[in-house]
């Protein structure tokens, strides 16, 4: 099936990227192992979709692919919210940093030049 080939190719590509990032030192060995396990599990599901029935039965969903889909959507939504809040927090910290720098620079330059306008 075309989809299987496409997905497995994509997984391999993702894996190779993870290995490259590990070599660059951007991710740790532990993170690499985690990522490898994830894509390995994904490959198993693509090769033998029947295994998802175990999960489907456990959750009370009729089809294995549906079970995977629901869980994935839920996880992605959670990640999206978390990322949004995280970014807001980082932006706030960034603003505070820019503000402190601005006030500090002003303080420094006004010490160098005596008060009074040109």
């Amino acid at each position: 099936m075309v989809i299987k080939v496409l997905l497995l190719t994509f997984f391999l590509f993702s894996l190779s990227r993870a290995v490259l990032r590990f070599r660059d030192g951007h991710i740790s060995a532990r993170e690499l192992v985690g990522i490898c396990l994830f894509w390995l599990a994904a490959s198993v599901v693509v090769m033998w979709p029947a295994v998802t029935m175990l999960l489907a039965n456990l959750l009370g969903v009729a089809r294995g692919t549906d079970a995977i889909l629901y869980l994935t959507v839920a996880a992605l939504c959670y990640l999206a919210f978390r990322t949004y809040i995280r970014i807001r927090d980082v932006e706030k910290q960034l603003t505070e940093l820019v503000r402190r720098l601005a006030l500090h620079e002003q303080e420094k330059s006004s010490q160098n030049t005596p008060p009074g306008r040109p």
Binding site: T95, A102, P118
Partner: protein, 233 residues
């Protein structure tokens, strides 16, 4: 106070102008304000043009954000600076030439008399402002929204011309870096139970101010930012 002298306001009055790429108009705005008040602070919010140089040359004190953080962030920075220099009254003023410096004494007056903690400029209490039709509609929406969400009744919710007492400037939190700070300031006034009043001011819509200003669609984004932050409290 003598009536005859063309008086400048007290030294403890600071005008704060948040400015992002406003070099073309800033000189006139600063000159206009300096006629009434000795301390004019320009917060250059990461401009790419000559905003800081123009402001300095025109006689303003300049505080520079290294990168653009938004109008709300710039106002808070300007207030912090003014407070550190002993300001007793802080006025915020738009950089784009929308506001009339001649309104400065009027907006500061109720604070100097100790009648309120915050004086809010309003363009809807007299007929001096040429507000375009669609903008009028959007602003009406803002007034209604503020009444429902923050429980504060004002005639103009998004006017950048305001005056704060030192106490109010210290108390009001501005966490909204972007444009939603206007709603946040009103919300803070209500939450902190600050005494406020409205002062009629003129708002001049020019081609420049319209081009530089917010599109009416941005109001939806403002609502979203404001509500999100309010829920997090």
């Amino acid at each position: 106070m003598g009536d005859s002298t063309p008086e400048r306001l007290d030294e403890s009055v600071f005008a704060v102008i948040p400015a992002h790429n406003e070099a073309p108009v800033l000189r006139d705005v600063i000159a206009g304000l300096l006629a009434f008040c000795r301390n004019v602070v320009v917060v250059d919010d990461g401009s790419r043009d000559q905003t800081a140089a123009v402001a300095r040359e025109a006689g303003a004190q300049v505080v520079r954000h290294l990168i653009n953080r938004g109008q709300g962030a710039a106002i808070r920075t300007g207030m912090d600076f003014a407070l550190s220099r002993g300001a007793k009254v802080i006025v915020t003023f738009d950089a784009d030439g929308q506001h009339d410096p001649a309104d400065l004494p009027a907006i500061v007056a109720p604070l100097l008399r100790g009648e309120c903690d915050v004086a809010l400029g309003t363009r809807f209490q007299d007929r001096r402002s040429n507000v375009p039709g669609l903008r009028r509609l959007v602003l009406r929406g803002g007034i209604w929204f503020t009444r429902v969400v923050s429980g504060i009744k004002v005639t103009d919710t998004h006017n950048g011309f305001r005056a704060f007492s030192r106490r109010a400037a210290e108390m009001i939190e501005i966490n909204q870096d972007q444009m939603a700070h206007a709603s946040e300031i009103l919300d803070e006034i209500a939450r902190q139970r600050l005494r406020y009043c409205e002062v009629p001011v003129r708002v001049r819509y020019s081609d420049y101010s319209r081009q530089k200003g917010q599109s009416s669609w941005a109001s939806l984004q403002i609502v979203w930012h404001f509500l999100f932050e309010k829920l997090r409290r």
